[in-house]
C-alpha cells in the first residue's frame, strides 16, 4: 500500500509545488478546516454581535439597526446587574472552593495506597453524572420538608426548625454553589493530579533527605511547580462556572426574588421567552466580554508566573 502510494506521490506535490508558492499551498490545504470552523464558530459570534446592535424582536417584527441603544439600556438595567453580580459571586466562590478541595483530593490520590485505582475511578462519578440529574438529587437532599440535610442538622441540634434552602434568598445561592462544588471538584482533582504527577520525584526525595517535612515540601516544591497547571485548571473552571445554567434552571428558575438569577438564565429568558433577539444578544455579548476579561486576567497572571520561573 505504502509503496504503491508513494511512488507516484513523490512527483505530485513537487509538480504542484512549482506551480504554486509553498505558502499558498499551505493555505489551500487549510481552507476546508478554516471554512468549517468559521461557519460554526466565527459566523455565530459575528452574527450575535450584529444582532446586539439591532432591535430585532420576533414579536414586534422589528429588525432595524439601532446602534448601541441596547447597551445603553443594559447599562441601566437593574435585572442585568443583579444577574451579573450573582454570576460573578457564583464563579468566584465555586472556583476557589473547587480548586482548594480538588487540590486536597489530588494530593491524597497522588500517594500510593491500596485500591487507589478504584478510588480514582469512583471519584469521577459525580462529574460524569448529567447536571440535570445532579440538580434533581440536590433538590431532594436540600428539600425543605423531607430533605436529609434538614433531618441531619435538626437532629444534631444545629437548627431548631426546617430550613427552606431554595425558598430563601439567603440560602438559595449557597445551596446551588454546594451542588456545583460537589459535582465539579472531581474534575479539578483530576486535572491537578496530572499536574502533580509531572513534579519529579527526585526533587521531593532530595528535599526529604535534607529533612524537609511534608508541608514544607508541598509549599516550596510541589505548589510552585504545580502553579501553571493550577492556573489553567482554574481558568477552565471559572469560564465554565460563569456559564452556569442547568443547576439554576432546574432548582430555582432564578428565584426567589431574583436571588439566583444568573446571566445564562437571564439571557435565556430574554431570548427565548420574550423573543427579543436584539436585547438578548446584547446580554449574551456582555457575558462574552466578561468571560474575555476573566480569561485575560488569568492569562496575564500565568504569563507572569512563567516569566518569573524562567
Amino acid at each position: 500500500m505504502t509503496a504503491a502510494a508513494t511512488v507516484p506521490g513523490i512527483g505530485w506535490p513537487r509538480r504542484f509545488g512549482k506551480a504554486l508558492p509553498v505558502s499558498l499551498w499551505a493555505f489551500l490545504l487549510l481552507t476546508p478546516a478554516f471554512v468549517s470552523l468559521a461557519s460554526v464558530s466565527f459566523y455565530p459570534i459575528i452574527n450575535g454581535l450584529y444582532l446586539s446592535l439591532t432591535n430585532t424582536s420576533l414579536i414586534t417584527q422589528e429588525n432595524e439597526f439601532s446602534g448601541f441603544s441596547n447597551y445603553v439600556q443594559l447599562w441601566g438595567d437593574a435585572q442585568f446587574w443583579n444577574a451579573w453580580w450573582h454570576t460573578m459571586w457564583f464563579t468566584t466562590a465555586s472556583t476557589i472552593l473547587e480548586t482548594v478541595i480538588g487540590l486536597g483530593m489530588a494530593l491524597i490520590l497522588c500517594e500510593a495506597f491500596k485500591g487507589r485505582g478504584l478510588v480514582r475511578a469512583a471519584m469521577l462519578v459525580p462529574w460524569a453524572m448529567p447536571t440535570v440529574v445532579t440538580s434533581k438529587m440536590f433538590g431532594w437532599l436540600f428539600d425543605g420538608q423531607n430533605g436529609i440535610i434538614n433531618y441531619i442538622l435538626l437532629h444534631a441540634g444545629l437548627i431548631d426548625q426546617n430550613v427552606n434552602w431554595y425558598g430563601s434568598p439567603d440560602t438559595a445561592m449557597t445551596t446551588i454553589i454546594i451542588a456545583d462544588v460537589w459535582k465539579t471538584t472531581p474534575f479539578m482533582a483530576l486535572l491537578l493530579l496530572t499536574g502533580l504527577q509531572t513534579v519529579p520525584n527526585s526533587l521531593i526525595e532530595a528535599a526529604r533527605m535534607d529533612g524537609a517535612k511534608g508541608w514544607i515540601t508541598f509549599w516550596y516544591i510541589r505548589l510552585p511547580l504545580l502553579m501553571p497547571t493550577l492556573l489553567i485548571a482554574g481558568l477552565f473552571r471559572a469560564l465554565d462556572a460563569f456559564r452556569v445554567f442547568d443547576l439554576v434552571y432546574v432548582l430555582t428558575g432564578g428565584g426567589p426574588a431574583d436571588s439566583t438569577e444568573t446571566l445564562s438564565t437571564l439571557s435565556y429568558k430574554v431570548l427565548f421567552s420574550t423573543l427579543q433577539f436584539g436585547y438578548g444578544s446584547a446580554v449574551s455579548t456582555a457575558m462574552f466580554v466578561t468571560e474575555g476579561i476573566i480569561a485575560l486576567v488569568f492569562c496575564l497572571y500565568l504569563i507572569r508566573q512563567i516569566r518569573r520561573a524562567q
Binding site: L58, I59, T60, Q61, Q79, G144, Q145, N162, N164, Y166, G167, S168, P169, A172, T252, G253, G254, G255, P256, A257, D258, S259, K269, F272, S273, T274, L275, Q276
Partner: protein, 448 residues
Amino acid sequence: MTDIKKGPVSGSKPAAHVTIADRRQFLIGSAGLLGAAALGLSTGLGVRRARAQSRAEISFASAAFFGKETFGDLIKAFNESQDRVLVKNIELPPPSSSTEVYQSLVQQLARRTGTPDVFSQDVIWIAGFAAAGWALPLDEYFPADKRSAYFSGTLNACTYDGKLTALPWFMDSGMFYYRKDVLEKHGGKVPENWADMATIAAAAQKAGDVDFGYLWQGKQAEVLVCDAVEIITSNNGAILAPDGKSSLINQKAAVDAIQFLHDTINGTKISPQDVLSWDEEPSRQPFTSGKAMFMRNWSYVYPIAQDAKASQIVDKVGVAPLPSFPGGKSSACLGGYQLGVNANSKQREAAIELLTWLSSTETQHRIALNFGLAPTRPALFQDEKIKAEQPFMASLEKVFTGATARPITPEYAKVTLALQSGISKALVSGNVQAEMDALAAQIDQIVG
C-alpha cells in the same frame, strides 16, 4: 408523519384506521399513475374523483396532547368526515415544553407564508399573535349568537382589541381542593372567603389534623402569576387597567391580596415557608399524602388524588371554586389551548371549516372523553356520557364560570417576567406596597 405515529393507547380499531388511511394514500398516489385508464372508472364514481382531486389542502399545528388517541387521529377523523378539505397535521412538542411550542409557532407565523393555516395556542399568546397581525379576526364567522355557547371568561381571553381572534377549544383553571374528612371536624362548610379559609386552616393545623393548612405555589415561575391573578381578582383588583396600557398592581385591592399570600406564611402561618420554592408538583405531593387541608392547584391533581397507588386521600378530596375577599367574586386563572386561524392562510374557507369542526360540540365531547381535556362549552358539562365517564370534569362547571384571563397584552412575555420577579420579591421581603410600586412602574414602562 402523525398518520404513522400512534398515541400510547390508540383508537379501539387500529386495523380499520390503517386500512382506510392506506386506501386513501393509495388513491392519491395512484391517481397520476393510473391516469386515463382510471378516468373511465372514476367518472362512473363521480364522488370519488372529486375527493381525490379538488380538496383544499390546509395544515393544522398544535402542541401534542395524548390520551386514548392523539390530535393526529382527530385530524384523520375530520379528513374522513367530509370531502372538501384535506388537513395535514403538524405535531409540535408537548404542552410541558410550552416555550418550544411558542417559539416554533412564532417562527412559522412570522414567515407569513400561510402555514400552518389553523393552529392551537396557549391563552397567554393570543394577544401577542393578534397584535402582530398573525391571527385572523373571527367576528364575521362567529357572531354573538354563536359565541354565547362558550364560557365568558374564555371568550374574554380570546378577544384582543375588541376583536375575537381565537376560538375557545378546551380549558383548565385554578381550583380549590379540600379534605372532606378534616373539614367535617371543623364545621363541614367549604369556606367561601379567604378569612374563613385561614381560620379553619389554622384550627385544623393546631388540632394536629394536618401539618399544613393551605398550599399554593410561590416559586418564581409562571404559576405564581396564576396564583396572583386569582387572589387579586377575587378582591376586585386587577394587574392591568382595562385598556391594558397601565398597571393597577400597586392599588389597594392588589396589595391587600398579595399581603394575604405573604401572611399565610408569616402571619397566620397556615402555609409552610416552602411554598416560596414550590410550583405545582411539590405542592401537590404533601396534599395527596394527606398532610394538608386546603390547596390551590389545576385539575390534573384530582385523578392522582383518587389513585390509591399514589394517594393517601382517596375519596376524601373535594373541589370547589377558590375563596374570595368580602365584596369580591371567586376567580380562577384560565389555562388551556384555544384555536386560531393564520391571517395569511390562502385557504380561509377551509380553515374556518376545520376550526368550526374542532370547536364543535361533538368534537369537544370527543376531546373530553378521549383526552380528559375540559370543554369550553358549559352545556357539555350536563352531558350524560361525560358525567358518567368523567364525573370530576362534570363537576367543574362552577369553577370554570369564574375563569379569569391573565393580563391581556401583546407584551405578556415581558410582563410575566416582571410579575414573577416583583411578586416573589414582595413575598420574600414583606414590603408589599414598596415592591408593588416598583413593579407597577416597571410594567407601565413595558405596556405604556
